[in-house]
Symmetry: C2
Subunit: 458 residues, 2 copies
């Protein structure tokens, strides 16, 4: 469950050897601890001519206690050393770019700053969703931003992540209210293992929390598969952030589940989700104890790997049922019984295998691709009620399951990403947390990979 | 420019060694020669209950001279050997799947057939675009098909490819007319290096050719960057398929361009596309000689690699201008001067780097991501005129450029895909050809990777 190579490399003795031999060099990632400042250094904020978000974003960052620089005035080289001052993040508002020649402005901003980003720093580019653009030329240029940010994610190294955030022109989006949750997540250590992503921020309603250190205060959250691994991390992180957690797992995992629940002060539900009366029993429990469920985290999942030619029908059926069909049945019953209030959140766990497919996992990949379909189809259907639907798609995460993978394949999976290491369950949990916040109402219909920008994809 | 390892492996001596050492085993791919039968064996056609395309597809395949089997009657094991008869392709109409439990029908179809596909065989699943589905459950199940087909592409091996084709419910789509071109391409050797793709077939008008061996008969086709590599292969393939080719390249490549043109009987245009008067001069040439251009293949492209911190502005500007902005300028002038007739075709060359980003290629990846934006934005804008807009995104293709890549990186790029080898320029050319056919009018807004289902992605 641990990455011994990364620990070695991050030690003094390891560093020298890694440099000499040109070995992979996984950086120590900045992760979130409550009370942390948002960033380890200033934000350099730039904007293309005619952009619409930078002023609001600057004000928001100042209010959040971030030191703000604008370029070039405060970004000039030190007259003695010739070095640029280092930044915790480079944020660029590219919404003013209306054709491909205007992309030059991003080169002008990022080129001199490429080596002036602190370790585990952040690069964030803000754009307009291409489908909302007024002309093919503008849509083309806005779509091109994706190639830039993904390349930066692969280039900058040292734990620096890069994301493109498309912010709708509709409604009050782009105001601090709707964008703030996403920017706070992406700038903070919460997003340590999220890189190379395209996030879409829409016009949904967002509620600013009284305390950004407890963004889930008062929320009733159901986490399935909560006894171990990613699910247990989700329960812990969401409880830390203020949620009342209802932790669910199968009866055979009862002891582990009880341990999690005792640690975080939540309640436990022992239930096999594939049972015919499971949705009703779950709904009864939620109705009786809480009267509602604000956030549903569909995390429970299993693998039963075989190539398709060697796969018996039971492996197919059980994986599809646990990972996909049971989610649908539960959603339907919770919905029918009106247990998900206005402003509710559904967050499902997909997988890179659901995006790219995987050898020996036709069942798993089919189920996890279905989870993406669930997000795509439910998000617009529930938007009118202010309910958001999103998924995370973990890449290589260090868990009990991946610890069993043979060494060579495990090492390949661990290193084949921009951060040269596997993620931790807490990284997936933090991402789920962000999507669950009342403040994240403008984020719906997203599938966010938590994969360190894995090379693997479709 | 050649893959010596693959040649060795495909020889008698190599085969034994590869088996003993467990080395990558690149199969010899079936490629297209005019007059070839569509497939090396029968098609096993299956359908989920309530599907809407199978009958039409079956009739179309019979008309195309394909031997058709249906399951299980003609797909039973040989009573003596217990072996199933081998198929050239497995085609499954999944449009009848309306919820996740219905996906079991695909398991039932594919599981017994997984080892009964001939080398370089084909797996094609037909579905309904999730956005057109009547319920979230149906959309979820249809989206799940992607995980299945991509996994099959990674599992089956021996040059077998797997694709998902989403066929619109609108208009006359799904009839042989609109779907036939795509099925013929995907079943044939023309699609040798295309795997793991999702193709969308819409309702655009499609013209059935008099002779499927000359699907571009009478079409005037412009190919930019035609002197060498992929562009030269495009010129050859499109001429072979009946097109009158106007081959364009920079004056410094004049000799190579002349050689291509002499070989195929086309005409040459020596022009630097970045010159201020280039679009006008090109339009003049097309107007004077042909009065129109039915197909524009935007292939010309350059790389000027450096990490962003070390990249001078000229590298940025030249790559963006050649690969993206000049395409936009040419499109605009051709459009204004009404040189692209109803039923015209634009086909652009993107890249896997435009999808996934690439270290050292911020400029190239930005330009190639922009090409995707160009397809996404122009396709709906031109649909009313029956003009289709698509792109191909090549992965590792064996060219002069890739031959210069250092050995280890080259080998990684070559083998990290489901076919364990690099593609050939002709593979990209055949894919462009399909998108250029008058018969492919129902295919617009697609970005089709020609990458052997590379592991690399976003």
């Amino acid at each position: 469950m641990t990455d011994r190579y990364a620990s070695f490399v991050q030690s003094g003795a390891g560093r020298a050897l890694v440099k000499r031999l040109g070995l992979p060099d996984p950086p120590r990632l900045r992760r979130h601890t409550p009370g942390d400042p948002l960033l380890p250094g200033p934000v350099l904020l730039g904007a293309a001519g005619g952009s619409r978000l930078a002023v609001q974003v600057g004000r928001m960052l100042l209010d959040a206690g971030v030191e703000l620089r604008d370029t070039p005035a405060s970004g000039d080289p030190d007259p003695t050393t010739g070095q640029l001052p280092k930044n915790g993040a480079l944020v660029y508002d590219a919404t003013g770019v209306t054709d491909s020649t205007g992309l030059r402005q991003l080169y002008d901003f990022f080129h001199p700053q490429a080596r002036a980003v602190l370790p585990s720093g952040r690069v964030i580019v803000l754009g307009t969703p291409p489908a909302e653009c007024g002309s093919p030329r503008e849509a083309t240029a806005q779509r091109a931003l994706e190639g830039l940010t993904r390349s930066i994610g692969k280039e900058f190294g040292r734990g620096v992540t890069a994301q493109l955030v498309y912010v709708t022109r509709a409604g009050d989006a782009g105001t601090p209210t709707s964008l703030e949750a996403t920017l706070r997540f992406l700038l903070s250590g919460r997003s340590a293992y999220v890189s190379g992503q395209v996030v879409r921020v829409g016009a949904g309603p967002a509620a600013v929390p009284a305390d950004w250190n407890r963004p889930l205060a008062g929320q009733v959250v159901l986490v399935t598969g909560a006894a171990r691994g990613i699910g247990a991390a989700v329960a812990r992180v969401l409880a830390r952030d203020g949620a009342q957690v209802v932790a669910l797992d199968v009866p055979s995992a009862g002891d582990a589940l009880a341990a999690v629940v005792n640690e975080i002060g939540g309640t436990a539900v022992q239930l096999d989700l594939t049972g015919p009366d499971a949705p009703t029993r779950l709904a009864d429990h939620l109705a009786d104890r809480h009267g509602r469920v604000d956030v549903v985290v569909h995390n429970a999942g299993i693998t039963r790997d075989r190539t398709l030619g060697r796969m018996d029908a039971d492996r197919w059926d059980s994986v599809l049922d646990v990972n996909l069909s049971s989610q649908e049945r539960i959603n339907d019953v919770l919905w029918e019984r009106e247990l998900i209030p206005e402003g509710g959140r559904l967050v499902a766990v997909s997988s890179i295998a659901g995006i790219a497919g995987n050898r020996g996992q036709t069942n798993y990949a089919t189920s996890k691709a279905g989870v993406i379909g669930l997000v795509d189809s439910l998000a617009p259907a529930l938007a009118g009620r202010g309910i958001s639907v999103n998924a995370v798609a973990p890449g290589f995460i260090e868990t009990r399951l991946t610890a069993r993978v043979p060494l060579v394949i495990r090492e390949a999976g661990r290193r084949m990403n921009s951060l040269a290491q596997g993620g931790l369950p807490v990284d997936v949990a933090e991402t789920i947390g962000w999507l669950a916040w009342p403040a994240s109402g403008a984020v719906s219909g997203n599938v966010v990979r938590v994969c360190g920008q894995s090379l693997l994809g479709a």
